[in-house]
Amino acid sequence: MIYKETGQYKSSYKSDHAIFPLLQDKIAFSTLMFIAFLIIPFVINSYWEKAILVPFLIFSLAAIGLNILTGYCGQVSLGTGGFMAVGAFSTYKIMTYFPDMNIMIIILISGLITAAVGIIFGLPSLRIKGFYLAVATLASQFFLVWLFNKVPWFYNYSDTGQITVSERTMFGVPVTGAEAPSYATYLFCLVLVVVLSFAAKNLIRSKMGRSWMAIRDMDIAAEIIGVPPLKTKLSAFAISSFYIGVAGALYFAVFLGAIEVTESFDIMTISFPVLFMIIIGGLGSMLGSFLGAAFVVTLPIGLKFLMVDMVGLSAVTAKHFEITIWGLLMIVFLIVEPHGLARLWSIAKEKLRRWPFPY
């Protein structure tokens, strides 16, 4: 009865098209936003910022990006790390060329640059599908990381190949660099994530989103009913890469501050975890992107906390357990709930609708 739909009439097209049609959802979402914008900034400390919230927000963005491509348009990609690196290095280069440019603009331009790169690497998707496409995107991952390590222009000829962010401010408060206060970096990421998520949600509900899904479900049928594969697939690559590029820019500029491409954008540190996020969270679901990112970011920290700080295991034993539990959970998830956490949530909603009178 918690999810009581009866009595909630939709009397206009506007209310019918609302993102959250139910009153309960509206209340839940507003409460969440209230907490995120008006409570967390006042209580956040640097541990919650650097270890949990900022990585969660950044990886949510990356997961939304990959979900657009893989979950909604059906094009498997393993190039997330490479595309995030494009975002990061674009930010770095623009920052050093235009020291006075606003950081928000820099990050959005980096997203656009990544989108352009995404289109180029999306071209093979017109010819190849499935596993073959996964391999092609894998090549982009290795190529891009190699490129940023090989060509010294990208890291301004520094001796070590490291790129380091310099301080940038929004409304007079630093949001990048070591002096940035926790609430500032958090809010900066939060604003970008909320705005871009709404944009993504609406894109998915638009004509473009429907054509992505048509291509995903059966590309030949989609083509026959008049969905152009070239435009659709490339738009999916472009928009997906835009999100991933912004995530990469934030990952470098706001989260880490100093980055080494081979280590920070490695396939094992970015591409696979982000793919796991959307698989665990739920392919083709906005909520799934967030749930997956939250799960992947917090699980190791939670397990470590549980095993080291609570039970008192040594750090290394805990790590071994963590690796094992992580692998087991992946398998369990794929067997028990292949549609991810988002599906669990909708089952829960269904149950709550009937509660307390299950029939």
Binding site: A51, Q162, E179, E263
Partner: protein
């Protein structure tokens, strides 16, 4: 019912955590970023064991530093930067010093620790130009830097060739990361100075794949090979060098590429392999006797205790000793045993490990004496060459401790640190 239980559990855990945090404040906290898992674990484990054993020994023998017990919470990083940041944030409160044991994490933490007022001690690794204390107030990398290391290696080669290496070919096999790239600029400068040809051969993380690298070496036949490797990469490189029959005494590793773990897998093939070092191997020192008595004999050895006396274990002892000494000095300067992180940094800047002081600490002849000042955070810059005897399975020191080419190195340090200072808008200190 279930939800109730869950809530009770969560509340209990929150309370437990807050009490855990409270507990940690009283003593001197030396958080450890370790990696006992992953591709770098073979090197990470003995080093971490050295640290832990030394701290335990100080706690058991002296009752801590000036009566203050040492807390040494471990945080497993797996050599990953992002995890390193998490570990740092988790432990930075009231922490005296961080020893990242990874050049990547060091670069990551330098600006953060400087903003937070936490000391970073990167013993012979990390950012070389941090040796310039005028710019890097919170970072120390004594006793020797990579650029010293590169020039010491070249000096050794020079000596073997009677001072003339014009036209010789020297290859650098390096970990393709910030760490491995560190010596390149120094070697390029030195190659101009001495007229040798430099060949750069990067090896990608984690370093298992080196076939192409050693094929190139076989073709180009360089006269000497230098290596900046870590973890599995060392083992694979030494094995590969042995399999192409590269003369081992022409193969010199940096101090991170010269431990037992690196040479043992290659068996007899590794005989004659050389590496730099800034501390002695073996167990014939007072500190080892103390650790045996106060830690190992009580069954409290860190890990399985099997790394006792190995190169990296001993280096861990050395690193821990310097960190503890900084606290002792700080207590003396400020006249209190309860030192703050800021006082600890003052202590670090006034470390004077003379031969006499080393002997008092049980490190007689273990490492060359060094001193840290406001301007010089890089220490003595002394390192020696050691050679592996595969039959006796031990490392032998074959040279005296020597200096690098300070005319080259100091200039590069000044250049790089002033670049950093300009980027980060740091004003120089020390008068």
């Amino acid at each position: 019912m279930r939800i109730k239980q869950l809530l009770i559990g969560m509340t209990a855990s929150v309370i437990a955590v807050s009490s855990y945090v409270e507990m940690a404040i009283a003593d001197l906290k030396f958080p450890m970023l370790v990696y006992r898992t992953g591709a770098y674990a073979p090197n990470g484990i003995p080093n971490a064991d050295g640290f832990v054993d030394y701290y335990k020994m100080i706690n058991a023998r002296d009752g801590g530093i000036g009566g203050e017990k040492i807390l040494h919470p471990e945080c497993e990083t797996g050599y990953k930067t992002q995890v390193g940041v998490e570990c740092y944030e988790k432990n930075k409160k009231d922490a005296m010093v961080f020893q990242p044991m990874s050049t990547g994490i060091t670069y990551q933490l330098i600006p953060k620790a400087t903003a937070d007022g936490v000391t970073i001690y990167s013993t012979g690794y990390g950012r070389t130009s941090a040796a310039n204390g005028k710019v890097f107030k919170w970072v120390f990398n004594a006793p020797v830097t990579y650029w010293d290391g590169a020039s010491i290696a070249v000096r050794h080669i020079l000596k073997q060739n009677f001072g003339n290496i014009k036209g010789k070919k020297i290859a650098l096999v390096y970990h393709n990361s910030a760490y491995g790239k560190e010596p390149i600029r120094t070697l390029e400068t030195l190659s101009k100075k001495h007229g040798f040809k430099l060949m750069l051969l990067p090896v990608d993380h984690p370093g298992q794949e080196q076939k192409a690298t050693w094929l190139k070496i076989r073709k180009a036949r360089p006269d000497n090979v230098l290596m900046w490797g870590w973890g599995v990469m060392n083992q694979v490189a030494i094995k590969s060098a042995a399999s192409i029959k590269f003369p081992m005494d022409k193969f010199i590793g940096i101090w991170w590429s010269g431990s037992e773990n690196d040479v043992l897998p290659a068996g007899q093939g590794a005989h004659g392999y050389k590496s730099l070092t800034f501390n002695a191997p073996g167990t014939n020192y007072q500190v080892h006797a103390d650790i045996k008595k106060f830690v190992h004999d009580k069954g409290e050895a860190s890990g399985d205790g099997s790394h006792f006396g190995t190169v990296l274990y001993n280096r861990g002892l050395f690193q821990a000793m310097v960190q503890v000494e900084a606290a002792t000095v700080a207590q003396k300067i400020h006249g209190t045993s309860k030192i703050t992180p800021a006082m600890y940094r003052d202590g670090f800047e006034n470390i004077n490990l003379s031969a006499k002081r080393l002997e008092e600490l049980g490190f007689k002849d273990f490492a060359p004496p060094f001193k840290i000042t406001c301007e010089n955070h890089g220490g003595s810059g002394l390192a020696a060459v050691q050679q592996w005897d595969a039959k006796a399975k031990k490392w032998n020191m074959i040279t005296e401790y020597m200096y690098g080419d300070s005319s080259v190195v100091q200039k590069l340090i000044a250049e790089d640190s002033s670049k950093y200072a300009a980027e980060q808008k740091i004003a120089e200190r020390c008068g």
